[in-house]
């Protein structure tokens, strides 16, 4: 009896955070810094910052396949093929063969099961949502209203941005509110020309991409061991300098320095254990991914940060007499309203001139063109919401030789010279929430650990497809305004959900427990000591990259949770 009590005590923490990625890192940092003893449970293997970035310093000739992907790797990483089709980074992307899922309609689920999650492989574009993003649903009668407004997030955005370190240019635009910035990265000469032409002829502002790279580290960055970005653009191999923001480089070290952090790896959280007496969560049940051993851990408060699909799956899997359809699922909204951004559509051009303009260094990041459609004085389109672009101009390198005609001594010589300038623009468009775009757990197919496989059943809507036309045409129009040559547009009709790598919305927040899963503090309406602060919570998708908003929501929820704990409300 005593033994049991002791064992239970040893497995009891003030808070449990599920997942060590972008949002889990923030939950760990905020909760430990506010005095809680925190257990982070991470399903993947351990990666140690710097020492485990095995390929980060490798030269091209040190890779057996010179970076090309083998047929075996291609099969194992098929969902993230575009993003991971590199020998130096494939291990930072989850192996789909070992972690299968079902596509009732096509969906690519791109993941990173290891310390730091997708914060090790993200593109680092970091934008605030704007005021309208939180109002659009209610104005247009789409989905449900957000229970919060932009103004409530402002202090949290500011707080996060300072610690993250975001390089960018303040522009004073309502459509793309400024963050707290480190110095912006440079634009190349054709990009400067492009920006000017588009401003003059089309009155659309263009800014340099706002990316989470340290262009001028501040004392609080160096305090956790981060240094300036070295402009190598090898980020997906892991950055030994901590040049870009990841939970490995930034939030987890901060949490660790409090001495109140415990991280357990290879710990797959299977379900939440509900206390039948008071309808609160008392802990989680965990499967060791290697030994299959099942263990339980207990805490007063749980933070789910397993990524949108991961966190929502845990809720779905947590069935009890009170919650036969999954924890907090009285509204039947769990798994519904799955959103992403639609991409793979845009325009390209060749650029003549600028022959003596060149650049030194490999810039991680690109230009950013903020939304201009259905905004301000723009006349109403035949679709709702809008899109932005990422893209830029760069000189072609030697790899153009694979497709350019010719061979021999001249050909060889030519490839050692900087190639022509080219520019491309890719649109990121807003996807609307739709309850029929969803995922659910398979009733019969399980994975190696006996957990039900995820079934994706979602697709772009007529609204999305209409928007794609403007993305192409407007992209081409801007390239033409700059006088660039051979302008072509592209839109792949087979582009599908998941490739936007911004999955969100499957446990949305809202005012009414009848139509939403979480309240305005990311708290499960009907199980108050469970917080879900990743992309699951989103009630709409905006058209800008989402991670900054997830982080802001996480810090806000952590602060609220600690206050509620202190007030003995949890």
């Amino acid at each position: 009896m005593n033994l049991n009590i002791n064992a239970q005590k040893a497995q009891t923490y003030d808070a449990i955070v599920v997942g060590s990625g972008m949002t889990g890192g923030w939950a760990a940092k905020e909760l430990t810094e506010k005095g809680l003893n925190v257990l982070v449970l991470e399903r993947g293997y351990e990666i140690k910052h710097v020492e485990d970035y095995k390929t980060a310093m490798q030269d091209p000739w040190e890779f057996e396949h010179r970076g090309k992907i083998t047929t075996v790797a291609a099969e194992e990483h098929y969902a993230s093929m575009f993003f991971s089709a590199k020998e130096g980074s494939q291990f930072n992307f989850t192996n789909d063969k070992e972690h299968p899922y079902i596509q009732k309609r096509p969906f690519n689920w791109i993941r990173g099961y290891h310390t730091g999650g997708k914060s090790l492989i993200w593109g680092k574009h970091t934008y605030r949502w704007n005021r309208e993003d939180f109002l659009a649903n209610t104005k247009e009668g789409i989905g449900i209203d957000w229970p919060i407004r932009y103004e409530e997030l402002v202090p949290w955005y500011t707080y996060i941005e300072k610690f993250v370190g975001i390089s960018g240019q303040a522009e004073g635009l309502a459509v793309l509110p400024d963050s707290t910035f480190l110095p912006p990265m440079a634009m190349t000469a054709p990009e400067v020309h492009f920006k000017k032409s588009v401003a003059q002829k089309l009155n659309r502002p263009i800014t340099i991409g706002r990316v989470a790279h340290l262009t001028k580290p501040q004392p609080w960055h160096t305090a956790v061991g981060r240094a300036s970005c070295q402009f190598r653009n090898r980020c997906t191999r892991g950055c030994p300098y901590g040049g870009y923001f990841s939970s490995l480089a930034a939030t987890l070290p901060a949490a660790r320095s409090t001495n109140r952090l415990t991280i357990l790896h290879n710990a797959i959280v299977k379900e939440i254990i509900l206390d039948d007496h008071d309808q609160k969560a008392k802990g989680v049940r965990v499967i060791d991914q290697n030994t299959m051993e099942v263990r339980e851990f207990y805490a007063k408060v749980l933070f789910l940060n397993a990524g949108t699909i991961g966190s929502t799956s845990i809720l779905m899997n947590s069935k009890s007499a009170r919650f036969p359809n999954g924890l907090g699922n009285d509204s039947d909204q769990l798994g519904r309203n799955l959103m992403d951004h639609h991409l793979a559509v845009g325009a390209r051009a060749d650029i003549e001139g600028f022959e003596d303009d060149y650049y030194f260094g490999a810039r991680p990041g690109s230009l950013y063109i903020p939304r201009f459609r259905n905004w301000g004085n723009d006349k109403k389109r035949d679709y709702l919401r809008g899109f932005g672009y990422q893209g830029g101009a760069a000189r072609a390198d030697w790899s153009r030789g694979s497709t350019e005609p010719g061979f021999g001594a001249d050909f060889k010589k030519r490839l050692t010279q900087p190639g022509p300038w080219k520019m491309s623009l890719t649109g990121f468009g807003e996807v609307l929430p739709d309850p029929n775009n969803r995922f659910y757990l398979s009733p019969d197919k399980t994975d190696k650990w006996g957990l039900p496989q995820v079934v994706f059943d979602a697709d772009f809507s007529a609204n999305d497809r209409a928007m794609r036309k403007d993305i192409m045409n407007d992209g081409a129009e801007m390239l033409e305004a700059a006088g660039f040559k051979n302008v072509t547009t592209y839109d792949n009709p087979a582009a599908h959900m998941g490739l936007g790598i911004h999955e969100m919305g499957t446990a949305r927040m809202g005012k009414d427990p009848k139509t939403s899963v979480l309240n305005k503090y990311n708290q499960v309406h009907t199980c108050k000591n469970v917080f879900v602060t990743d992309g699951s919570a989103m009630a709409s998708a905006s058209n800008v990259n989402p991670s900054l908003t997830y982080m802001a929501l996480t810090a806000r929820a952590a602060s609220y949770a600690v206050a509620q704990l202190k007030a003995k409300n949890l």
């Binding site: 030269d59 091209p60 303009d357 061979f407 491309s424």
Partner: protein, 185 residues
């Protein structure tokens, strides 16, 4: 849509980062059994190997800097053929080598070899179909890739800057070599 189709579409729509031959390499799901890729012996015989090396050297010849053979491109091509491509693609490659053998490529003079390869290139361009793969595309892509990622190829061709430390717009100086950062891999 099967996985391969999905993949090639992804690549095409994201700007054609991967060439058609590389994409076709992904087409293994039906054709390749696990056994066929483990320890598969070399797929080229001596003559084919010799032709492949000579063609690679014609594409990137030795000049005042090393050529394809100097930097080990033939071995790279063979490795990639074995581990990066499916049986049908391998067969296309072998057929291409066979055609050259039939035309007496090995015994031809340097000039004749060049003429022959110009014909092959012209034919390839004339017959190019979206999504198809040809011997010439394959050997050219693998040669260029193998050469410009080799240590000697990089160091003799480029101003290699593994850790530039900054990003700056500059003006090109006369005779300036291209910068290379090692981030293609």
């Amino acid at each position: 849509m099967n996985r391969r189709e999905a993949l090639s579409r992804v690549s095409l729509m994201l700007g054609g980062t991967l060439s058609a031959p590389t994409l076709l390499a992904f087409d293994r799901w039906n054709q390749m059994t696990p056994e066929s890729r483990v320890n598969s012996p070399s797929i080229l015989n001596e003559e084919q190997r010799e032709i492949m090396a000579r063609v690679a050297e014609r594409i990137i010849p030795k000049t005042d800097t090393p050529g394809a053979i100097d930097v080990g491109v033939p071995a790279f091509i063979e490795l990639m053929l074995r581990e990066g491509y499916t049986k049908p693609v391998q067969d296309t490659f072998l057929t291409g080598l066979g055609d050259l053998a039939g035309k007496g490529f090995l015994t031809a003079s340097a000039d004749q070899q060049t003429t022959l390869l110009k014909q092959v290139e012209a034919q390839t361009l004339a017959n190019a179909k979206a999504g198809s793969v040809s011997f010439w595309q394959l050997i050219k892509e693998l040669t260029v890739w193998g050469y410009f990622t080799s240590e000697a190829g990089i160091k003799s061709s480029f101003d290699y800057q593994p850790i530039p430390g900054k990003f700056e717009a500059i003006k090109i100086r006369p005779g300036q070599k291209d910068f290379m950062y090692g981030n293609q891999v």
